[in-house]
């Protein structure tokens, strides 16, 4: 076929639709070699790559989902902790307020107590001083009265027993009349 075609080509225009056997054989062999090479080497490599890539992407997605779930969990945990801390803080604040109130109350009571005590003490002291002064005045007054009386009388009222009785009786009378006047007022 090839030879006839070549002869045809030399003599006249060859027919383009008549195939050359040599070209059919060469085309087939060349194609089969290419097919074999691709099938044996290229395609398995690419398919393997595709599988790896798919696995990698799927793994990546899975990992991302896991990370997201973890993050959400952590967020929920933080929120719970925050709420807990808030309630605790409120509780502490309330406690503190309560305690402060209590302390204030105690201090006030203590201060009042102290004040009452001081007042009482002062009163007692005053009472004591007054009694003392009254006693002193009474003895002074007695002595002065006796002296004055002795000067007036011109004689010493030596008789101690008598003197005491007289002065005391006088003072008692004075006191009684003073009290009576006070009551009348």
């Amino acid at each position: 076929m090839l030879n006839t075609s070549m002869i045809l080509a030399q003599e006249e225009e060859p027919s383009p639709v008549l195939p050359h056997v040599s070209e059919i054989i060469l085309g087939l062999v060349a194609f089969l070699i290419l097919l074999w090479l691709l099938k044996k080497y290229a395609v398995p490599r690419f398919e393997k790559l595709y599988e790896e890539r798919t696995a990698k992407i799927e793994g990546g997605i899975e990992k991302a989902e896991k990370a997201q779930a973890e993050a959400e969990q952590a967020l929920a945990q933080y929120k719970a902790q925050l709420a807990e801390a808030r309630t605790e803080a409120a509780k502490i604040r309330d406690d503190a307020r309560l305690e402060a109130e209590q302390i204030k109350e105690e201090l006030r009571a203590e201060a009042q107590e102290e004040a009452r005590r001081i007042v009482a003490q002062g009163e007692a002291q005053l009472q004591a001083q007054r009694a003392q002064i009254v006693a002193e005045l009474r003895s002074e007054l007695g002595r002065n009265a006796v002296e004055l009386a002795s000067r007036i009388v011109g004689e010493s009222l030596e008789d101690e027993a008598r003197r005491r009785g007289t002065v005391d009786r006088f003072l008692a009378e004075l006191e009684a009349s003073g009290n009576g006047a006070g009551a009348r007022k």
Binding site: L2, S5, M6, A9, E13, P14, S15, P16, V17, L18, P19, H20, V21, S22, E23, I24, I25, L26, G27, L28, A30, F31, L32, I33, L34, L35, L37, L38, K39, Y41, A42, V43, R45, F46, E47, K48, L49, E52, R53, K56
Partner: protein
């Protein structure tokens, strides 16, 4: 071609390019240009895929990305779409080989120095369609459905009124067993043949006008060359489309043979 133009120039008469331009004398010992180109195409494609796939990474480099794009196109856009996602895997190498083999051999038509679409010699596409695609799709069909089941599937499509089979069955028969492989080969052959011839017409015509025509006609050679360049781009598109069509139809035949319901 050079010799042809030279004689034309000497004779001073325009000789239009013809079929003879597709059958150049052998380079040596009966080895012709398309034969060399076919061998070369196999080397180019094999080298491309073997080198780029030698160290594939999850994150591709530029070369790997290019190879992956081609592989992806053959695998997903042609094989998987036509054959179906369950059965396409065993046919990926074949579809990929068909697509790249025809693509590179077609593209040879516009690459400087090669400048010859191998598929314009009908022997090459015929070898692919009649000796590769044709036996493969019948074989996988028969293996899947059994001989009887396969023939029933192919020749008696379901959902048709009975009398129609009188008409339909012979048509289906001739189509499945004769015309499919023949038209598959002729489609790419004719496109490459015609495309190359048109490029020759405009190139040789432009050359003739430039060298031989007188006066104002010389300027027309520029138009002719411009058309040759323009058509080269058109041709590039057609070459890619034809390779794609061949691969898609091959995958489609396989898919139809495997499909249980027509």
């Amino acid at each position: 071609m050079g010799a042809l133009v030279l004689t034309a120039a000497e004779g001073g008469e325009f000789a239009p390019p013809g079929v003879g331009d597709f059958f150049l004398p052998p380079i040596f010992l009966g080895v012709t240009k398309p034969m060399v180109l076919v061998v070369f195409s196999v080397i180019i494609i094999a080298a491309f895929f073997l080198i780029t796939s030698r160290n594939l990474k999850i994150v591709p480099s530029k070369m790997q990305f290019a190879a992956e794009s081609v592989y992806d196109f053959g695998r997903n856009n042609i094989a998987r779409d036509q054959i179906g996602s369950q059965d396409f895997r065993p046919f990926v190498p074949m579809i990929l080989a068909l697509f790249t083999f025809i693509l590179v051999n077609n593209i040879f038509g516009i690459i400087p120095f090669f400048q010859f679409p191998t598929m314009s010699h009908i022997g090459f596409p015929l070898a692919l369609s009649v000796l590769v695609v044709y036996p493969v799709y019948h074989y996988v069909g028969i293996r899947r459905h059994g001989l009887g089941g396969y023939l029933r599937n192919q020749l008696f499509p379901s959902g048709v009124p009975k009398p129609i089979y009188l008409l339909l069955t012979p048509i289906e028969f001739f189509q499945k067993f004769f015309f499919n492989p023949i038209t598959l080969a002729i489609r790419v052959f004719a496109a490459m043949f015609a495309g190359h011839l048109i490029l020759l017409v405009f190139t040789i015509g432009g050359e003739y006008l430039l060298l031989e025509a007188g006066g104002a006609l010389k300027a027309l050679s520029a138009v002719s060359f411009a058309f040759a360049i323009l058509l080269t781009f058109v041709e590039a598109l057609i070459q890619v489309i034809q390779a794609y069509v061949f691969a898609v139809l091959s995958a489609g035949y396989i898919g139809m043979a495997l499909a249980s319901d027509h």
